[in-house]
Amino acid sequence: MERPRIPLATAAASPPRENLPALALLAPFLIAFLLFFLVPAVETFWLSLTESSLTRTSAFVGLENYATLVQDTSFWDALGNTFYFALLTVIPLTAIGLVMALLVNRFVAAQGWLQGVFFLPFVLPISVMTLIADWMLQPSSGVINHILGIQRPWLADPTWALPAVAIGTVWWTVGFNMLLFLAGLRNIPAEQYEAAALDGARGWKLFANITWPALRPVTVTCLILQVIASLKVFGQTYILTSGGPFNTTRVTLHYMYETAFTQSDAGYAAAIAMAFVAVVILLSLLQVWIVRWLEKRES
């Protein structure tokens, strides 16, 4: 007996037009969307073309802010710090996330606990992470220095401040990547493993030939999400190091915040924001293209 075809609400059906009820249902969202996204988005663009303070809008100055931006070493330093942070976090976050997912998937009996331990930090507020990190990184009473037997002032050391924040970030957010990889692992059909087992594949061979290729799409997603997320870093560096020491941890968004709220230069800050968005979009596109190019090269 056939399963009946249950029609889904696709465009093929054409019930009577429902403009008015639709408007009523959409109104709250549309109003909020307009006020808190669309208008601010347009305003950012427009502000970047003016010279404005935080509370008043002033003269239209065209692309002057952008011209200044291009020459602004502080901006490029901040951008460099951001990229450095991304470099420090993306690979570890992806790799450790993968390992965790593999372990959770393998040791099914302890799954709830393992998954819980790895993921719990992710649901914590940022300031919990920063408080604990700051405590652990204390030069004299911090537990890290006690284990390593040194007295290094991590967060005050220009070389080590950003890496320290990066390590804290890895602890804090890796759980999410683990989830992505877990979902990817669970979508691999069991038959592939059974067939491979019959072919005599074990351990590493199994991973390299079955698991890893099947996980490629998830890995790509994960990398892209990680890069974008690390570009948006702000809270950790602001709270832990205030952008110091010597601006070595001042990231792009921090610079934007300072420009807007400390120097009350809203116009220039908006230009920074626009540049920031451009960087994010460009990098995302770049990644997607690289992935497509790699896939083409393979087939």
């Binding site: 029609p7 429902e18 006020l35 305003e43 393998r106 507020p125 204390q138």
Partner: protein, 277 residues
């Protein structure tokens, strides 16, 4: 890894699992251990993993001094409001996008999804100015309102609604239900699980939101937990037991939400990232 592994791999795997789990649990456990000892012990040269003297002193002081309770209240109010409002407007919008035929449907939906492209961080300055003009700086409404715009939640709900067979809606229409009624009496109950998942995830995200409250809140009394915890140095001085106690108390609600609803939280985060759980 599925399938048969030989003993070597199992041992390595188990050892790695234990090691990683220990590493990941360590910071919170250490914070707990710190919070349960007297202040002097935390900075003494004599290092101990476990408290020599067990005491709840730090917790008591934390709840007494500073504004921790006030911050907890603010966070609870804000997170709950954000969750309720986001769920309400997102469900309605998602239902309209999914089930109703109206002019401009794809255009509007595309526009809403455009928000994915533009990060919230880029809107901070104009949002602040708008809030200033509306007189909502440092107010609950000011903290809550920008957070209710969530294309992710709408997207997840719309996808889910699309997958519900149209027969239920048509039967309800024939029974005389209007669109709002169909959403409330038919779609909502059927979507129970996913709505809970997204609600919990929204709650956690709202509780943990640092950036926006950081911009909009100007007085200590209106701070939410993530903000307030950064003020603890001023409140308590450099007293690590109390700082850790404050951190743990601030983390408690969301940690509890996760422990109680682990499956839903997982489901919600995965849905939000576009993958199936």
């Amino acid at each position: 890894m599925n399938g048969k592994s030989n003993l070597g791999w199992t041992v390595i795997g188990a050892a790695s699992a234990v090691l990683l789990a220990a590493l990941w649990a360590a910071p919170l456990l250490w914070a707990l251990s710190t919070a349960l000892r007297p202040e002097l012990e935390t900075v003494s040269a004599d290092f101990h993993w476990l408290p020599q003297t067990w005491t709840l002193d730090a917790f008591a002081r934390t709840l007494g001094a500073g504004n921790l309770l006030r911050w907890l209240f603010n966070s609870a109010l804000v997170a709950l409001s954000v969750t309720v409002v986001t769920m309400a407007i997102s469900l309605m919008a998602a239902y309209a996008f999914s089930q109703l035929r109206f002019r401009g449907r794809s255009l509007l939906f595309g526009l809403a999804m455009l928000a994915f492209l533009l990060p919230f961080e880029a809107l901070l300055v104009p949002l602040f100015r708008t809030m200033n003009q509306l007189g909502m700086i440092n107010s609950y409404a000011g903290i809550v309102l920008p957070q209710v715009v969530s294309p992710v939640v709408i997207y997840v709900f719309k996808q889910f609604f699309d997958g519900i067979p149209a027969d239920f809606r048509e039967a309800a229409v024939m029974d005389g239900a209007g669109p709002l009624r169909v959403l409330w009496s038919v779609y909502l109950p059927i979507s129970g699980n996913i709505v809970w998942a997204m609600a919990i995830v929204t709650f956690i995200a709202a509780w943990n939101n640092f950036l926006w409250p950081f911009i909009i809140v100007t007085s200590n009394d209106m701070m939410t937990i993530p903000l307030g915890l950064t003020q603890t140095y001023d409140a308590f001085g450099v007293r690590y037991a109390q700082l850790m106690a404050a951190a743990l108390l601030g983390a408690l609600p969301v940690a509890l939400a996760y422990v109680l609803f682990q499956k839903k939280v997982t489901q919600g985060f995965l849905a939000a990232s576009g993958l199936k759980g």
